[in-house]
Amino acid sequence: MRKDLILHLGALAILLFLELFGVFSDYHQGNFARILVLAAYGIGYNVLFGYTGLLSLGHALFFSAGLYASGLSIYHLDYNVGQSLILAICFSAFFSLLIGYLALRTVGVSFMIVTLMFSQVGYLCILYFGGITRGDEGIVIQQSSRVFLSLDLSDPTIRYYSALIIFSLCLIFNLWIAKSSFGRVLIAIRENSDRALMLGYNVHLYKLLAVIISGTISGLAGACYGILFGYVGASFAAVPYSIFPLLWVLIGGAGTVLGPLVGAIFMFYLIDYASDITDAYMIIVGITLLIVTLYARRGLLGELRYRYFKWIP
């Protein structure tokens, strides 16, 4: 069996056994369910940033597109979980096509600004249409609506397994992309887009596809987050939720399949432990991030790949 497959399936197996053998306390079980869904969001972000080299500052727009598509359809239209997920996937795919089409007219810093602005428009729309979205206050999805194939998704154990399934699907899809010729072209665009163009690749189309894949995975993660944790709020569409995936990916290792998971675990528990020590926990978080960027500029997994394990995809 290939080394990369063993590594990634091994990581998934560990996440499964941690739960099967009851290693998690209730607290950490809840945390890890959250981390897994957020890491799926990070995988979506990584397809665009880590593999294609396009830095978006507005991915909260795609995350919240999925979150609200599923949340509002359950709340207002009585959709079941399956229907709302399908709607969320279609909606975020369409939305990322639209935003990608417009934003890819720009490059570099302009692309960052344009994506940030689109994301702010989305956030303000959620607040403006408070009659439907209930604005800042948000929507609580009732336990009775969070049932899928007769399974109660609000049950902590089922929630963990559901989060693990979503994360696994995203991870395997990302691994497939990373090893495919399509993924190789994305990496080529990241490394030297002028050369990729001169090899006959339609660079613009590849970038658009990367935005659509990235936005759709982000939207799927958003939808799952709302369904599994029962809350849909405007804070998920605000700037911090565009910055978080960037941080997870940078810390875990841009352009590595497991990087977003490593980054999300690191950031989650860093904030968790730092806030136990002091109210000014962001100081500790900031200093730690500085140290990581000083000594592991490629991110934790990225640095390991650069120094020892060149085969990590």
Binding site: S181, R184, V185, I187, A188, E191, N192, D194, R195, A196, L197, M198, L199, G200, Y201, N202, V203
Partner: protein, 238 residues
């Protein structure tokens, strides 16, 4: 030889202006199938700009480019490349963080008859980089990077391969190797060679076009060009 059927690419009054400066001015140019055509001219003559107009890196201000009988003037660059124009860069432009294998695999034109691994090995064997197939291309020596650039051009299997100063910065022995390789490639591909090294031009080119201040001032075989007073004046001054 000089029949319409034999023309691979021609231009009609192609021009490019950069804010009023005529970098390429009304150029009519033909390249025949299976020839090695050298494009020479003093620095700043517009050589790179001209070939960029052919492969679509830059859009022409006016004029037409016809390739294999089809007007490609309005085609985007990737379609021109897919139609069979290959281009290797003057300043080495490879994927430095990828391996030699991945660089060539990206350039390979997919065909069902040959597996990717075989095609990559075949090309790398020709340029002598097969033993470095797993090496990161950024770690190669400059000479080997130039070879890789050429290998990528070959892997595309283009009908017309444009080589923009391929021997720039190479040692004499490396240049000899390059000359052999280009001769070898020319058995299956038409080559347009931009080159400053006159020894290379005189030993491998079939025909030469001379560009000066954005205009073709002479066109013909080696002897004609060598003895052309206008060319001598352009190169040596009055």
């Amino acid at each position: 030889m000089d029949t319409v059927d034999n023309i691979l690419l021609y231009t009609e009054n192609v021009s490019k202006n950069f804010q009023g400066i005529k970098a390429v001015n009304n150029v009519n140019f033909k390249i025949y199938k299976n020839e090695i055509r050298a494009l020479i001219g003093p620095n700043g003559a517009g050589k790179t700009t001209f070939v960029s107009l052919l492969c679509g890196r830059i859009n022409a201000t006016a004029g037409r480019v016809v390739f294999c009988g089809e007007d490609i003037s309005n085609l985007p660059v990737f379609e021109r490349i897919s139609n069979g124009i290959g281009y290797t860069f003057q300043i080495t432009s490879i994927f430095f963080n990828l391996t030699v294998y991945e660089n060539v695999a990206l350039a390979i034109k997919k065909d069902s008859t040959n597996r990717e691994e075989n095609s990559v090995s075949e090309v790398l064997n020709k340029v002598g980089l097969l033993d470095r197939i797993e090496q990161r291309s950024g770690d190669l020596s400059y000479g080997h990077q130039r070879l890789l650039e050429l290998a990528m051009g070959m892997a595309q299997k283009p009908k017309l391969l444009i080589l923009d100063e391929p021997t720039q910065g190479l040692s004499d022995s490396e240049i000899e190797n390059f000359k052999k390789l280009i001769k070898d490639i020319s058995s299956s591909t038409t080559i347009l060679l931009i080159e400053h090294n006159m020894d290379v031009v005189m030993s491998i080119a079939d025909n030469i076009s001379v560009l000066h201040f954005g205009e073709i001032i002479a066109d013909g075989d080696k002897e004609t060009i060598q003895n052309d007073p206008i060319v001598q004046k352009a190169y040596l001054g009055d």
